[in-house]
Symmetry: C2
Subunit: 442 residues, 2 copies
């Protein structure tokens, strides 16, 4: 194993699960490890506390007259349950079939660490970088970056930059360099429906009392019509239509055909909003998803109760120019309007983030395309992205800079799922890409 991989493995072993308060110490230890690592590579680095998990900043010695490039990544990861579906321990990385298997391998430790090692390599070879560089690594991306915007505000001058680069998005197919110019936003919420004061005998009372689990089912069902379109009043009002060049380019992008989606998801067949391809459905159309639901007896056998309450967790992916605050208000009104009689409804809004969109044909976009062309030896494709990196919108609003999305995540990377993985070749290409990118941006 190369020294580069050994260092990545050390990084991956931290169970830095930001949503689980029991892992707060692990998140911090991981951040401290990053500070030390950046120091080893010749950068000056420090840990900055926030109300929750710390931010890591690392910089070379900045010189007047050079471009200031900010590279963002996150060192926190998603939870790992259901643990029994992992082939190997999510925090004991292994290499099998040319891939690194671990939680965070792709999202985002593997991608962000390639940038750090790329910088280390240039520093070791040339003594310095062609640009003024700042690394900004956060520990709260998977919980919606609650403190990063505040951190940007507080350090607005220190972080003021010309352009930002992020590798936390998709690469459409192995070896196909991919520049992202758009991200979906997100807004989340949890629904709790309460009925009787306690679980009731379904024989004695069934028929006279509304069942909260039935009510949650009805509320879930109220979100879509049979064509997969969301029927919340005004939900699509601000959705920007796809441009002709986008539909044309995406139709030719490898790795996103119906067959590819079927293969990667393992679904028996695809289903989405009528009139759009899977790439269009996931990159440029909004969604309403149930992330979890529960109520009543879920154990072995049967228990003939009429449950006292039931719940569902939702997330809505948003596209330009939908506003998370506007959408979550419409969602709440929708649920209130559709809640059946006989139960009470509590709706708890969760984290959110705006969708993002930039012109891929500008100066920095062209430089990024050139870096991709050089480091992969292929023409890059231009895509949007189904996931959400809300902070990209904050970069624009607070630092005034646009973000280049240089994705290295394959569709079968299984991020957020068991058996997350990252090809060794993408890790190595990421190191090369960082070196080419800083050169082009200079």
């Amino acid at each position: 194993m190369t020294h580069e991989l050994e260092q990545l493995f050390e990084f991956l072993r931290f169970p830095s699960i930001s949503t689980d308060s029991r892992h707060a110490g692990d998140v911090r230890a991981c951040g401290e490890w990053l500070v030390a690592k950046a120091g080893e590579l010749g950068l000056s680095a420090e840990l900055h506390d926030t109300p929750k998990h710390p931010v890591v900043l690392a910089r070379n010695v900045h010189q007047q007259g050079r471009r200031h490039v900010l590279i963002y990544g996150h060192y926190d990861v998603q939870p790992v349950d259901p643990l029994h579906l992992w082939t190997s321990d999510p925090f004991q990385p292994e290499i099998r079939d040319g891939r690194i298997w671990a939680r965070g391998a792709t999202d985002n430790k593997g991608q962000m660490f390639a940038h750090l090692l790329g910088v280390g390599k240039t520093m070791a070879a040339a003594g310095d970088l062609p640009v003024n560089l700042t690394f900004l690594f956060e520990g709260e991306e998977e919980i919606g970056s609650p403190n990063l915007a505040g951190f940007l505000e507080q350090n607005r001058e220190l972080l003021a930059c010309d352009v930002i680069a992020v590798s936390d998005t998709g690469m459409v197919a192995p070896g196909t360099p991919t520049l992202g110019y758009g991200l979906r936003g997100i807004t989340c919420g949890e629904l709790i429906v309460r009925g009787p004061a306690r679980d009731l005998h379904s024989g004695l009372f069934g028929g006279a009392v509304m069942n909260p689990a039935t009510a949650v089912g009805q509320l879930i069902a109220s979100l879509h019509d049979a064509d997969g379109r969301i029927v919340i009043d005004g939900f699509y009002d601000d959705v920007r239509p796809l441009e002709a060049w986008e539909r044309e380019m995406w139709a030719a992008v490898p790795g996103v055909s119906e067959e590819d989606f079927l293969k990667v998801t393992g679904a028996p067949s695809l289903f989405g909003e009528k009139g759009f391809t899977p790439a269009e459905q996931t990159w440029a159309r909004p969604t309403a998803e149930v992330n979890g639901m529960g109520g009543g007896y879920q154990g072995e056998g049967s228990k003939t109760v009429l449950p006292a309450e039931a719940m569902a967790k939702f997330s809505f992916r948003l596209v330009p120019d939908q506003e998370p605050g506007d959408i979550i208000r419409k969602v709440k009104s929708h649920f209130e309007k559709h809640c059946p009689p006989g139960v009470t409804l509590e709706f708890i809004p969760g984290h959110d983030g705006k969708p993002y969109h930039t012109d891929p044909h500008g100066e920095f976009g062209k430089a990024a395309q050139e870096a991709l062309r050089k480091s992969f030896g292929q023409e890059p494709v231009l895509i949007r992205e189904g996931g959400s990196i809300p902070i990209v919108q904050s970069f624009r609003e607070i630092l005034g800079a646009d973000t280049l999305l240089l994705g290295l995540a394959l569709a079968d990377a299984q991020i957020h799922s068991p058996d997350e993985n990252f090809p060794v070749e993408n890790f190595e290409a990421g190191i090369r890409m960082n070196q080419a990118l800083l050169e082009e941006l200079a």
Copy 2:
């Protein structure tokens, strides 16, 4: 504490939860204790093994020319979770506010044990009973009595009787003697909906793949219309309409007004099939209830997954002349017809039992009314019952005898729920009722 209560407490301390295989030993120990207790009271008793939990039979010395009365009860109980909602340990009975608090206090240990003690009292006073008596106590009622019908078949001659008495139903109000002449039947099933091969990132794939939790929500919602009527094709085909005398009598029965239902259930308002009172909805109309549902992430915080699968458990309460086998086929077809594209559906039928109905104005019905009148000093009311005791239908089919339902369970007994309880006065009235009943039936 009286010796009678002490003996009941001993009985209640067995955690005889029949659905949980870890408690199989407790169910058996409880049955053995009953055999010993019946022996102490002057009956000959024995334990009969079945493929699962044993049956207890106990008899006096039968004499030619006397009526043979069979009294049925069950010594198994429902699970106790959620345990934290109990005020005291479900298997450490306590008396508070004139009530006995324990799992099984009402359903069915308290009621069946009153019969056993009533028989013991008559035996002690008179040396014998006025009838040939057989007690049949089973340990599988809460899991649908899978082996009792077989046991009846095998012991058809031994158990051949003139009439059967069961106290496992409701008493409409404290002190109001209640004769039940009908029971709802039941049929159960579990639905598993599977979509992608694993939990997916809701950003990367949301919009192109059907969400199994959404599908379960849609299937739950497909069961009812906005008026609370079940819209499964042919569901109501065999439902026998209410008779005029029933609607008239039930309108006058105490304890079953809308206010009573609201108070007992704690629901914010009632909701059921339009055009029927709560008593009619629960005693004479069928239902479709979700007993449990689950899928995706139900823990703290959020996890933006598109779950690989989701499930729901259902029970359908049936009324004369619906057939469980016919209904569960209709339910299965309904789910298959309404399952959205992009997911697969597995439907697993569960236990079932036919609805029961008899004429309360026949010879034995009149005798039971007289026994109730004598032991409570009040005119009895005639009702049906929302719960299911499938074995009552088997008694009719295999033993050829009808069943008298002499219920002692109050609406706030919280059977199947935390804080199950039984008034001490109902326990004592049950002992008196047993003595009067055997006299009247003789």
